[in-house]
């Protein structure tokens, strides 16, 4: 049976192609000059450069963390390139007609048509290719509602006051090694501002694509939901199939002001490496949001890709009555390793958080949940509920749970539930006896296991996520 499951899990990585796009790529290496050059190609103001250089100096003093339950060959930061952009983007195309058709084709192949007539109705997309944003759709329509949705490199010019105020306000430069690196060398990502009282009329989404070899992608995203506003945002990511590891070190900051709500969903499908663990993306990401009074931030993630994942989307529940949620499905197979979870920091009174984590391990992979729930002394009446479920497929994989709970307020309530189960022979036999293929059976059982999380995804993407899981599980059955 195990052998069958493994076979069903061995999949083809459909997004593994390389686009023939001529790029301008920096020589590998990292020093202050490289940072000056990044800032220069982006035409950044002086304050932004200073901010980067300061971060670089902080980073140089830091050490790469090694507490995560992952084992990988360390990145040689002097051996990778920190900027790569299609040459055709140099002239800053004004409309889709001016964008290199090969770039448009790339996104079309990935199922993200950028031509508005073909797009998913009701979803605006910012398409980031290596270090630059290629195009952001539906901007005019969003502007009518006062919503700003643009590449962060453009926001640096257009909305410097918002950036100066909020960039680094949730994830400070010295937060951790990879965040500091990102502050120094980030290239592009999305900027979102929802004005007071506005309900964003569309789903916003950013699609990250790594194409160029030997480069790192350093995405930076900042979402600000002003008082009483509401936004739902989704990111997707893929990369070509290569034997070398590539680094993706992103920082995402969310600011939910009083009574605002941000729903942030991720469907992560970076190249996971081959069966033997060769190649794949290192996904070392810092994501955090701050909730002011009565605000709510909800993280939903479906993680199926990357060879190594190190990611803890978190909520700082600063304002009274604020709410943080984390819904996660992490699937590892082959030799993939994931160390992922969340942090819920309860500061305000009556703050609430919910954590639902579903880890699925197959093949020879390792899947860890790591979470922190902290109740500060002022968190009167705060509550947390955590549920961590692990599903094992086969007998050579690992599932681990590292829950940390710190409670400094006696009135706070923290609940933790955890289960570990296997796709049982009985379940497989029942499905097959009814005529169902072993592969379909595993994917159905796994989908059922993930249901609580999938129902949190925006509708269009719930279907996508289900399909992605199906593809990921192809060949994992025996």
């Amino acid at each position: 049976m195990t052998e069958q499951i493994d076979k069903a899990l061995a999949r083809e990585y459909e997004a593994g192609f390389v686009s023939a796009v001529e790029s301008e790529t920096f020589e590998p290496g990292l020093n202050e000059d490289v940072i000056r050059r990044i800032s220069e190609v982006k035409g950044e103001p002086e304050w932004m450069l200073e901010w980067r250089l300061k971060a670089f100096r902080v980073w140089q003093e830091m050490e790469e963390p090694n507490w995560a339950h992952v084992d990988y060959e360390k990145v040689d930061f002097q051996a990778i390139s920190y900027y790569s952009a299609p040459k055709s983007m140099k002239d800053k195309p004004k409309s889709l007609d001016e964008v290199d058709p090969e770039l448009l084709r790339t996104y079309e192949k990935l199922g993200i048509p950028l031509v508005e007539q073909q797009m998913l109705a009701g979803v605006a997309v910012d398409a980031v290719f290596d270090s630059v944003s290629v195009v952001t759709t539906f901007r005019e329509k969003l502007e009518e509602a006062g919503v700003i949705f643009c590449p962060i490199s453009e926001a640096v010019h257009k909305y410097p006051e918002l950036l100066k105020k909020y960039l680094g306000s949730v994830v400070p430069t010295k937060d951790n090694f990879f965040a500091a690196l990102n502050c120094a060398v980030f290239t592009d990502g999305s900027f979102v501002y929802i004005p007071k009282g506005v309900r964003c009329p569309m789903e916003l989404s950013t699609y990250f694509r790594i194409n160029e070899q030997n480069t790192g992608q350093f995405e930076r995203t900042l979402i600000i939901a002003d008082e009483g506003s509401h936004v739902s945002y989704l990111e997707g990511c893929t990369a070509p199939q290569r034997d070398e590891n590539q680094l993706h070190a992103a920082v995402v900051e969310l600011v939910a002001l009083d009574d605002a709500e941000i729903k942030y969903s991720t469907v992560q499908n970076w190249y996971p490496g081959d069966e033997e663990g060769k190649g794949g993306i290192y996904n070392f990401v810092t994501k955090r949001g701050i909730c002011h009074t009565n605000a709510k931030i909800s993280w939903t993630q479906v993680e199926t890709g990357s060879s190594v994942t190190w990611k803890y989307p978190s909520c700082v529940l600063k304002g009274d009555n604020s709410i943080g949620e984390f819904y996660s499905v992490a699937l590892t197979r082959g030799r993939q390793q994931a160390d992922t979870g969340t942090k819920m920091i309860h500061i305000g009174k009556n703050t609430k958080s919910t954590i639902i984590s579903k880890g699925i391990s197959a093949g020879k992979s390792n899947n860890s949940y790591r979470g922190l729930v902290r109740m500060n002394p002022g968190a009167q009446g705060a509550r947390n509920f955590t549920q961590c479920d692990s599903l094992l497929i086969g007998d050579q994989c690992g599932a681990h749970t590292f829950p940390y709970v710190e409670s400094r307020n006696p009135s706070a309530i923290v609940e933790h539930e955890a289960t570990t189960s296997k796709v049982s022979d009985d379940q497989m036999f029942l499905c097959q006896q009814r005529g169902i293929d072993p592969e379909k059976a595993v994917s159905m059982i796994v989908n059922g296991f993930c249901k609580e999380v999938f129902k949190e995804l925006p509708m269009e993407f719930a279907v996508e996520a289900g399909k992605l899981l199906e593809i990921s599980l192809e060949g994992s059955v025996g």
Partner: protein, 261 residues
């Protein structure tokens, strides 16, 4: 290999589990439309027979043959045997949390239709037949939305098995102690479900410990399975005899007469 009017033909079947011989020379022929009851003491190999025929992992055939409608069963994968028309109603149906009964049923039916080269039913068409099947086994329609067997009572699980049988329309149904753990009312519902599916093309193997199920599902033949083979066969009256006398008198009889129908 066999008489063309035979649906299931088992010839001198020997099978083992974890290297222990359980089935030791089983012979059985079943014609379309017949209902055969298999009775026998604990450990005789009754459940094993169902698992061996359906191809469960860990059940090894050592020798002999089994064919369904002329096709070699033992050569097929589990799902192909199911698609060829073999259905096993489980003694202890397993739960699949989060997978709705409706989805599970539709995926099963679709897989079997596809194997037969038929188009899959639309969701609306399927929902209609599924609701109808629910009614037949006296399960509320809300059960279609619940996870497969998730939190079902023993009786609900058994009725759910019969519902699957009704929807899959198999050629041969093996009911593995479907009556175990059922009260009289529940057993009647299950029996009605089974009886509604009896036809001149569909055959049944009813594995049971107790004669009482056979009051509701009238068998054409009754066989006694002991120590891995059929030691006695007869008509429905044999079940009554067993009820009164138990199995001990059979096991003391060493002779192995050919007791086929």
């Amino acid at each position: 290999m066999s008489n063309e009017n035979v649906l299931l033909s088992i010839k001198d079947l020997h099978a083992s589990v974890e290297e222990k011989n359980i089935i030791k020379g089983l012979n059985l022929d079943i014609k379309p439309g017949e209902v055969h009851a298999i009775m026998g003491p604990n450990g005789a190999g009754k459940s094993t027979m169902g698992y061996v025929l359906s191809g469960r992992d860990g059940y090894t055939v050592d020798s002999g043959s089994a064919s369904l409608a002329g096709e070699d069963l033992l050569d097929m994968d589990v799902e192909d045997r199911a698609r060829a028309g073999l259905f096993l109603a489980f003694q202890y149906p397993v739960e699949i949390p989060g997978v709705s009964n409706l989805e599970f049923l539709k995926v099963s039916v679709d897989a079997q239709r596809e194997a037969r080269g038929e188009e899959s039913l639309t969701s609306a068409e399927f929902l209609k037949v599924a609701k109808e099947a629910c009614k037949q086994v006296n399960l509320p329609v809300s059960f279609l939305k619940r996870g497969v067997n998730e939190g079902f009572s023993g009786g609900e699980k058994k009725r759910n098995e019969i519902m699957q049988m009704i929807l899959l329309k198999p050629k041969l149904c093996i009911l593995d102690e479907t009556d175990s753990g059922l009260d009289i009312d529940a057993m009647q519902v299950v029996a009605n479900g089974v009886n509604s599916q009896r036809s001149s093309e569909r055959s049944f193997i009813v594995v049971t410990h107790y004669q009482r199920l056979l009051d509701y599902i009238k068998p054409d033949f009754v066989h006694v399975l002991a120590d891995g083979k059929i030691v006695k066969s007869g008509d429905a009256s044999l079940a009554k005899e067993l009820e009164e006398q138990g199995y001990a008198w059979l096991q003391t009889e060493p002779k192995e007469d050919e007791l086929e129908d």
